[in-house]
């Protein structure tokens, strides 16, 4: 079946602009996660959605970052007033209830110039 998809695959933006990244999870997966992977680094947790519960936003690095998810479907990660240190690959993952492993999308490579 279809995996996690993300769009765009690449995004180049100027410093100070806002960007919106999209994630389509695997159908039926109730949990959805956003992570950031800086060059040569491991993954940093950003935000976690579980069904209709309040999201866990504890990993968001600043108030310029926000994310939304409608029900158990698409999620968008928004970065306002982008900075050069926001340049990274943003990865989305989803997980079904009752399973433990997360399945990752291909990521969006964000470059802030």
């Amino acid at each position: 079946g279809a995996g996690v998809s993300q769009s765009p695959s690449n995004k180049v933006t100027e410093k100070g602009k806002d960007v919106e990244l999209r994630c389509d999870p695997i159908s039926g997966h109730t949990a959805l996660y956003w992570y950031r992977q800086r060059l040569g680094q491991g993954l940093e947790f950003l935000i976690y959605f579980q069904g209709n519960s309040a999201p866990d936003k504890s990993g968001l690095p600043s108030d310029r970052f926000s994310a939304e998810r409608t029900g158990e479907s698409v999620s968008t990660l928004t970065i306002q007033r982008t900075q050069q240190e926001d340049s990274a690959v943003y990865l989305c993952a989803s997980r079904s209830s009752g399973n433990y492993e997360q399945y990752f999308g291909p990521g969006t490579r964000l470059t802030v110039t």
Binding site: Y33, Q41, L43, F45, Q50, Y100, Y103, F104, P106
Partner: protein, 116 residues
């Protein structure tokens, strides 16, 4: 605080030889442990997990990992390495709280290079 350590930035192995990629963790509560592999320009692929039960778990592509509670380790192993195993490997942990599961904490990754 939860953390994962992968002490080796790179592991070099000759094809056909056994390989080990090391991982240690720190977590309060019962750990859920995972290994993921990342090939160039591709997303992370799930390899295997330890949740409970037998300390030796088997996963995709002939990989296995051994959970050692006393040493808080979860090393990834394969009896005979292939050139195609060359990739970036990530160990990850999450803690269970009352049966629910949160986000993964990742190590920094270990680059595995298998030479013919």
């Amino acid at each position: 605080a939860q953390s994962v350590a992968q002490p080796e930035d790179q592991v070099n192995v000759a094809e056909g030889n056994p390989l080990t990629v090391k991982c240690t963790y720190s977590v309060s509560g019962n750990p859920y442990l995972f290994w993921y592999v990342q090939y160039p320009n591709r997303g992370l692929q799930f390899l295997l997990k330890y949740i409970t039960g037998d300390n030796l778990v088997k996963g995709s592509y002939g990989f296995e990992a051994e959970f050692n509670k006393s040493q808080t380790s979860f090393h990834l192993k394969k009896p005979s390495a292939l050139v195609s195993d060359s990739a970036l490997y990530f160990c990850a942990v999450s803690a269970s709280y009352g049966g629910s599961q949160g986000n993964l904490i990742f190590g920094k990754g270990t680059k595995l290079s298998v030479k013919p």
